[in-house]
């Protein structure tokens, strides 16, 4: 699924304003403001098993989601960056 790029925006004296009214330095449809328009992929469906997640933590230690949550419910957040 390759979604369409959302490019609606207007330039204001405070920056670029997107169609929902959020204002930022970058023009909608570029770089970190590459929003999808219409359908876009959101991972496993509701009702599916949560896939394995194996990566490292902030402490650079190995991480395995299902082992770490150990039978507890969880909220798993994907976000763009903690740096910018």
């Amino acid at each position: 699924m390759q979604p369409e790029l959302e490019t609606r925006g207007t330039r204001t004296d405070k920056g670029w304003r997107d169609h929902d009214g959020f204002v930022g330095r970058r023009q909608p449809g570029t770089g970190p403001r590459s929003d999808p328009r219409g359908d876009f992929p959101t991972g496993p469906d509701v009702g599916d098993a949560m896939p394995d997640v194996r990566c490292v933590t902030a402490d650079a230690t190995p991480f395995d989601l299902h082992a770490h949550r150990a039978g507890r419910p969880a909220v798993f957040i994907f976000y763009r960056s903690a740096v910018w």
């Binding site: 959101t42 469906d45 949560m50 990566c55 902030a58 909220v75 798993f76 960056s81 740096v83």
Partner: protein
Amino acid sequence: MRDFDAADIRVYALSYDEADALRDFRAAHGITYTLLSDPDSDVIRSFGILNTLIDPNDHPWYGIPYPGAIVVSAEGAVTHKFFDNNLAVRAGPEQLLRAALARPHGRGPSLPIGGSFAGAKLLRRTRLGQPMPEPRADRAAPQEVRVSVALDGNHLAPMVQRDLVVRFSVPEGRHVYAEPAPQGSVALEVTLDGSDRLVQRPIVRPASQPHTLEATGESFRVHHDVFELRLPLAVNGASPSDAAEITISGEVRWQCCDDEVCDVPTSQRFELALPVSEPPAHALRNSRGATVEPNAMAHFQRMSERRRGSG
């Protein structure tokens, strides 16, 4: 996080940042949930949510996901997902907590919301960080529908969604019409007055039940008992100098009946004044332009260089 910890719900947040950048971010903001590092976007790709609208040579932006949140049950199943077309709109903590506490199928437990008021015409004010006022004593007659309107949370923030909750309590033996209402009748509806500062997403409605009149055999859909509609809202922060308070107003309409008699349709206006906080923290700069994580620019430069090198 205290509420998540108290409910024994784990919280994880994954990004394509390096682990050392996450350590600095965690320290700068006192984060207690688990930050995960996926610098080559392997996990992001495995979920199929890499933002492919970004050119692979567009450094350092290439590698980010379509941001969102997935709620996982104790058994390991996906029970709720929160993704928005606008990458600036994020599920709020109360939304995630309600979802994680709810049973995967059917209705979740009845939970107290941040505050409520009956009568729905009185302007209530709260201050940031303070709980919503206690609900007013409800003076509705026993056979009347009771409606309360409140925010789940005690303030609104740019980007962060919180739900305006409209809670109905319908007397036993009576019902309110759901869509589609029988001809000539009014289905339950909530509308907000337009505001260019509010970003509103589709209303989350409770499941309606089928109902058949014994006398005529007529069938339609209704709501009974106690139920909620949730209106996800965020403020857009279009103008950071805007007043630190926003007034939300709107109208609730319904028609209540039993199997023999229908009340006339009712509409009730509501109005709430809510505090608006600063946008969520950024590492590079906050809304006033100040750097809040001292190494953020160095991390940003290293991230860009590494990606150029590997691209």
